[in-house]
Subunit: 344 residues, 2 copies
DNA sequence: AACTAAACTGGAAACGATTCCAGTATTGCG
DNA sequence: CGCAATACTGGAATCGTTTCCAGTTTAGTT
């Protein structure tokens, strides 16, 4: 019994049949191609009747583009990132893209896996808040492939030393330096530093910058003055501060690698009976909304999260629409600004 | 000049050629099928050499499943949702899924568009924090299609009256009632309500519940006692409170439709010189982390965000793995709990 | 050594769209 | 009215996989 050609039960050819036209015509119908009013009506009726919707996968396979953008962040639970994400979502959607999200939690392995995954998924572009340091190159191969196949990637957090990619980053060194200088100016001498795991390059950089800034300010910076572990969260900040005070009891000021930790640390200090900022000054990094909502309000290094996100998106969109020069990567270095509130 | 069959430049057949095997074998290689050590080695070498990675789109087209899950939320900027999202991301990823995100900002049109989009994109499942009320049915058609084609959707926020879908929701009525009762018990009589736009059904429900609860408590509830507009954010809360106090100067307590608004309102009140909770008690809804970080700490109706998210995910995963009964939808109603802190 | 079961492999037909190419209907214009 | 230009349409090839089917080795048993 030879199998007779099965009449298509689904898909564009099926609906083409019920409309009495060719599949190619239906395709044109859905892609604003030229199709006469009469045929248009026939197709509309058929669509109405069958509830047909084109399959985006098939289209994307043939057409090449997926209208999907990958966004890779350290942590979608951190307001600093979730707000950026919100900006991405809105702008991308406005331009017809959907967004697939990945969180690395500071793991370069995870970062690489996500990147690979997105490559295989053929996203049209990627926004990558990288946590790789300059020494790592786990992702390089994949990044290179992406680059070769002309999938735009915009790199947030640092420049890529090996590939000419669009990038934005904040000047962590400058930020931390501003904080240390300010604290010295208001008379603090014993300054310490709290950070999350330094597997994330941005945090690593902040730690390093702190050491340098202390040296430059001619202040002592023994190794116990720096605690770097855990998740860069309020909880971690709260857990670390007592430890820090124990091993460095003379501490007069603590700067933290982000606002979440700073807030945790600040409340832990208050809990211990310390007065902020009199006994202990606290400085954060990011300037998330919460910084203005805690009491005392948090003094912090502001990075304009929304603007950065918008700019990042713009870089990507420029590539996607071919608006920006093939050769030269777009680049931007943002200077964090010390905003003095009540905690320091 | 008839075109001779072009030798494939890309894809599985290309690499099959360089490895000297059939495409089907390469496919098996990548899908843990049986392939002998010898062939395996040949393919590995070829992969190494060419940097080949299978195209997920083509695979998904043929295979049927995309390993992609759609998540639709009102607002990824609200910690209540971004924390849930984080849970989704982690759990889904653990099971090999990636996550595509959409935000509705309370718009049922947007909700529907996203749903449609995800259907066309053939996600394997959807988590939907719906904002549609019982009267709306814009999305019904699409939901029905999804249902018919057996794409699992779990509905968060209410039960779907028309389709037997898995669902979780919090008992908004009960929550608001608890708040009103509590306020009455501690001697507040003039109670008002602040909410964001009621296009989002959850907020709408909270407003309604407030009216009923007031009536049940035999308290006056004129229409000016309720203000419902804007974005359910700290900013809106801050902007609305002065208005509210102007039109209802005798207000002794205000309950808000979420914590963000409550925090905004609380600080605005303090700004106006009111003492919280003495002059004005404030109660929020959600119990996000920020509630414990503001001063005074926020009294609020707690919904266990993380647990809900986990459960939601579990419902979906059950479907995806066929673990749960075809016929009967999984359902869960969560009782919010009043956690009394300092603001009321 | 013979025979059965299992492991392995290749070929070809899908999956569901887009797009080129060529052919036909329609319109515009002098 | 005739002719060129344009609008519209259908057919077939293609995108890069997976999967069924059948055929060929290899291994396992007595």
């Amino acid at each position: 019994m030879t199998r007779t050609k099965q009449t298509a039960k689904t898909g564009i050819v099926a609906i083409a049949k019920v409309a009495g036209v060719a599949p190619s015509t239906v395709s044109r119908f859905f892609n604003n191609g030229q199709v006469s009013a009469k045929t248009r009506a026939k197709i509309e009726k058929a669509v109405e009747k069958t509830g047909y919707r084109p399959d985006a996968r098939a289209a994307s396979l043939r057409r090449g583009s997926t209208n999907r953008i990958g966004v890779i962040l350290p942590d979608a639970g951190n307001p600093a990132y979730s707000n950026a994400m919100r900006v991405f979502h809105d702008q991308l959607r406005e331009h017809g893209y959907s967004m697939v999200l990945g969180c690395t939690y500071g793991s370069v392995e995870e970062e690489h896996k996500l990147l690979q995954f997105m490559q295989q998924d053929h996203v049209d572009g990627i926004i990558l808040y990288t946590c790789e340091g300059p020494q790592d190159d786990l992702s390089h191969q994949t990044l290179k492939q992406l680059f070769d196949q002309k999938t735009p990637v915009v790199y947030v957090g640092k420049q890529n030393p090996l590939l000419p990619m669009d990038n934005l980053s904040v000047d962590n060194r400058l930020g931390i330096t501003k904080a240390v200088r300010y604290l010295k100016r208001i008379g603090k001498r014993h300054i310490t530093f709290l950070s999350g795991d330094t597997c994330n390059w941005a945090y690593q950089q902040r730690v390093d910058s702190f050491k340098r800034a202390m040296k430059a300010a001619k202040l002592k910076c023994p190794s116990q003055a720096i605690l770097a572990q855990g998740t860069s969260s309020v909880e971690t900040g709260g857990a670390l501060l007592p430890k820090l005070m124990e091993q460095m009891p003379q501490t007069e000021a603590v700067v933290c690698s982000n606002d979440l930790m700073a807030i945790g640390a600040m409340y832990a200090a208050i809990q211990m009976g310390l007065k902020v900022p009199e006994n202990l000054a606290v400085i954060g990094f990011d300037d998330i909304q919460m910084a203005t909502l805690v009491r005392p309000q948090l003094t912090t290094l502001r990075q304009p999260i929304t603007e950065i996100a918008q700019q990042t998106c713009q870089f990507l969109l420029n590539r996607l629409t071919g608006m920006s020069d093939e050769k030269t990567p777009q680049s931007l270095l943002i200077e964090p600004e010390l905003v003095v509130r009540e905690s320091a």
